[in-house]
């Protein structure tokens, strides 16, 4: 058990750094990219934030901010405990999918608390943007998860992986997979769904964070991104199944592939605003996922 805990923690930390480095690399200016700029930026950024003096806005709610930052770190880590990393997950719950869903929704609270805590207008607006975003993405996301559960007849992640031998759910239920990827961007407030941290809001939710608070916030946001990418592997990509390599290696390869896809999406797609996306989500994505659920439901009938 301790080895699994440490393995999960090490894998998460490595992937968090990898995602941040790749993102910095892709986001580096073309001129600096020629001379290898970008990859070291996460470390340099961490160094800068560590030596930064503590800073406090007028009458902030520091306790709420700290709870928010810690929740943003804990929620993805707890969500990851049900993901099989080759062998058994750290906690092989029979309601693994529900647990994952519940932990991921804690990010709503985390972001909102951080945005509220600073007593500053830009973080506050960013926090409310994220709540609106949650209302748009959460239902299609849950329908995608339930489609997987119906297909496997189980909410246990290892059962879902077992049920996919032969044909991955990404192929068997492509609409659910695509909707999952969109909702992954949204719950990680990443790239096209990153307006809670929008440039038009001077950085949004973390605008007033500095020093260690900002460092942990950034670690948490990359952890969310890593975990939503990692969850796609047992849910849709057959878990550790694959030729030659051991299961943990395949899990890692697939996780990295999804993670790269999400990071690249940030640099390919413009941001989506919820005042336009909300209608699309409710009137197009929800009916689509319901149709997908119906098809899968009919297929699993005895």
């Amino acid at each position: 058990m301790p080895s699994e805990v440490l393995g999960l923690a090490a894998a998460l930390a490595a992937l968090v750094w990898g995602a941040a480095a790749l993102d910095a690399r892709l986001g580096a200016s073309p001129q600096s990219r020629l001379v290898g700029g970008g990859v070291a930026r996460p470390w340099r950024e961490a160094a800068r934030l560590l030596v930064q003096q503590r800073r406090r806005t007028l009458l902030p709610d520091v306790l709420l901010t700290r709870i928010g930052v810690l929740t943003l770190l804990l929620a993805p880590v707890l969500a990851a405990t049900v993901l099989p990393l080759g062998g058994a997950p750290v906690a092989d719950l029979d309601v693994g999918v529900v647990w994952f869903n519940a932990m991921e929704v804690c990010v709503w609270a985390a972001l909102w608390l951080i945005g509220w805590g600073a007593n500053s207008v830009y973080p506050l607006i960013g926090a409310y943007r994220y709540v609106a975003q949650g209302l748009a993405y959460e239902l299609p996301h849950m329908f995608a998860l339930i489609t997987v559960a119906v297909g496997a007849g189980s909410l246990r992640m290892t059962d879902i992986v077992q049920a996919q031998h032969g044909l991955w759910y990404a192929v068997r239920m492509p609409v659910a997979f695509l909707v999952y990827l969109v909702s992954a961007l949204a719950m990680a407030f990443w790239g096209p769904m990153g307006q809670p941290l929008g440039r038009d809001l001077a950085g949004g939710v973390p605008a007033e964070l500095s020093g260690a608070d900002r460092l942990l916030f950034l670690a948490g946001r990359y952890a969310v991104l890593v975990v939503v990418a990692a969850a796609a592997v047992p849910l849709f990509l057959g878990g550790g199944a694959g030729p030659l390599l051991p299961a943990w290696a395949w899990t890692l390869v697939k996780t990295v592939a999804v993670l790269v896809l999400l990071v690249v999406a940030r640099h390919r797609l413009p941001a989506v605003r919820m005042d336009r996306f909300m209608g699309f989500s409710w009137l197009v994505l929800i009916p689509l996922t319901l149709a997908q659920l119906l098809v899968v439901g009919i297929v699993v009938l005895p």
């Binding site: 003096q53 806005t57 719950l93 909300m278 009137l283 009938l301 005895p302």
Partner: protein, 115 residues
């Protein structure tokens, strides 16, 4: 039981890690806490930012709540639909169909559009 101990260990690891970051920052950063005003493009605030926010997507939250309650029923349903068979599927989709009628009505009323 062992799984919960493992999860607890993981939580402890994260908390200790976060505390470590704060501790290192305390040691290496300049002393003291800087007190600043909220960032307002170089202006001073006339009032506190914390206020009753104009949540224009209020109607969406209500539609969401109706649907979200329903999702709780769907997790157990997902486990038994294959055993129970067609009846379970028909009943659930009749229910979802009714909810979708509500969504379409909300859309017609303009609940998903706000400016």
């Amino acid at each position: 039981m062992q799984a919960f101990l493992a999860v607890l260990g993981l939580v402890a690891l994260v908390v200790v890690g976060a505390a470590g970051v704060y501790a290192v920052s305390l040691v290496v950063a300049p002393r003291g806490t800087l007190r600043v005003g909220p960032y307002l493009s170089g202006g001073r605030p006339r009032e506190h930012a914390l206020s009753r926010f104009h949540v224009r997507w209020y109607a969406v939250t209500l539609v969401f709540l109706a649907f979200d309650m329903e999702m709780i029923f769907m997790y157990p349903w997902a486990l038994v639909v294959a055993e129970v068979g067609g009846v379970a599927l028909v009943e659930m989709f009749a229910f979802l169909g009714l909810l979708m009628v509500g969504v379409v009505y909300a859309w017609r009323e303009g609940a998903f559009r706000w400016v």
